[in-house]
């Protein structure tokens, strides 16, 4: 996994990851589990239990531990295994640790960096406040095609499109609205887009924006 590019990619809308849930996500062909304890931030882990490889996105959350569904091993938020039900009196060795990736929530989007000890900076589009989640869409096209389409799509009266290293795009509309897209390459021919928006009357325009995103998806897949 150290072969991964050092860059932050949005892998979901923060609000979509419910409390006490674990969810599967694929980034660049790598299976990830996004999970959240009963409170606290979203964690991004490899979707593979260190014990016998069961997907941790099938796991269940108790308090702030994620339990694997297969044999119930419990993992703390830092990845450390803290309980092995087959041996209730055994303190699990320190070596048993789920593989986790850095996770940051910014602009209502969960970002991760598969290179692990990355030094790249998080995408920066100003202050974190005021962003409202719109929705995620999944497009049956490679990320390069989706990025290209963001430049030319009609989001209203666009005044500016700003890319941030390929993993994010900010679209400014003259009415004062800003739409931020995180571009998540899923596999060679599949891309997820996570959209958040900010600006005047954003709450009232959510439905309209969601419709435009649906059109965006249809337009890209038709081309």
């Amino acid at each position: 996994m150290s072969l991964e590019q050092d860059r932050w990619t949005g892998v979901g809308l923060d609000r979509q990851v419910q409390a006490a849930s674990s969810n599967p996500v694929i980034l660049d062909g790598q299976a990830l589990a996004l999970w959240r304890g009963e409170d606290g931030p979203v964690r991004v882990w490899e979707d593979r239990c260190p014990h016998r490889g069961m997907r941790l996105s099938f796991g269940f959350v108790r308090g702030d531990t994620l339990r694997c569904i297969y044999h119930g091993w419990a993992y703390r938020t830092d990845g450390q295994c803290v309980e092995i039900p087959a041996h209730p009196d055994l303190a699990p060795p320190k070596t048993i640790c789920a593989n986790s990736y850095p996770a940051e929530s910014r602009y209502g989007i969960v970002w991760t960096n598969l290179s692990g000890a990355g030094s790249a900076a998080l995408p920066d589009f100003g202050a974190d406040e005021g962003w409202e989640p719109v929705r995620s869409i999944y497009v049956d096209r490679p990320a390069s095609v989706v990025r290209e389409a963001l430049h030319s799509f009609d989001f209203g009266d666009v005044s500016e499109v700003r890319m941030n290293g390929g993993s994010a795009a900010l679209v400014r509309v003259r009415s004062g609205l800003e739409i931020l897209f995180a571009v998540q390459p899923v596999s060679d021919g599949k891309t997820a887009l996570h959209a958040v928006a900010k600006g005047q009357g954003v709450a009232g325009r959510r439905a309209d924006l969601a419709r435009r995103l649906e059109r965006l998806r249809a337009t890209i897949e038709r081309a």
Partner: protein, 291 residues
Amino acid sequence: MAVTTDSVALNEWVPCGWLGQVPLGGQMDTVIFGQKISITRSDDDCYRVETLPEDGSSGRQLPVQTRYCCIFTTLGEAKRPLPEIAEFDEPDRRVTGCGSVGVNTSPYRLVENFLDMAHFSFIHTDILGAPDRTEVLAYKTEHRKDVDEIWAIDCTFYQPAASKASATGQMTQYVYRVMSPFSVMLYKNVHCDPTRNDAICVFIQPKGETECLAYMPMAIVDENSSTADLIDFQQSIFLQDRVILENQRPALLPLDPTYELPTRADASSIAYRRWLKAMNIKFGIYEKQAA
């Protein structure tokens, strides 16, 4: 799907159909180790198996044996005979075949799941395990060199409803036996008669490296349950396992003990993996990509 070149795998007997699956005078195609084969049945217990080459040329006739409700064949030169399982010859046993179930994973993941008691409380909750009694007590494993089999003995686990016949919970005694890389069985104590064991087998037909058919013949001591009930019980258990089996990553089996970390309860899986490694089997094994 390419035919495997791994002679270690090719030299094993594997099931390719259950008795009765091919109608009298009929024919059925299937796949083992990526090789298409055809089974024809000319008489009650008279089967002929041959390869079906892709180029349409005439196939090679393969050895056939029928036992344990299954048709067995091999693409190579079998180094070991089919296992002896005496329970299947006892006259008062209920012997049933259960048919076969498709599972998309490597055959070894199936064997390990069958050997594993630690998942009972989580995957077969309130049947083979209770949520508040998850402990796996120490047991012994051995490599029986005379027959080249892996055994796990003195296994015990608390079970709320160990079989179709059980009315209450019990400490179930298990003995596990791995007869080949692709076959495994267990003996578990019978609710009504402490001197006897139910024998339940899993014979695996590897169609490809991560595509299997599992056959589950069993020889049960149970005068009351109907055959349909016995089969239903086994199949419902197996379907719970299948969800797990198809979601382990990687689907191929890693033999590197640092890639998947075992604990004491996995002693049988550890012994099985060592044995696979020592026989240098390559089919269905995960090779970590060099970094």
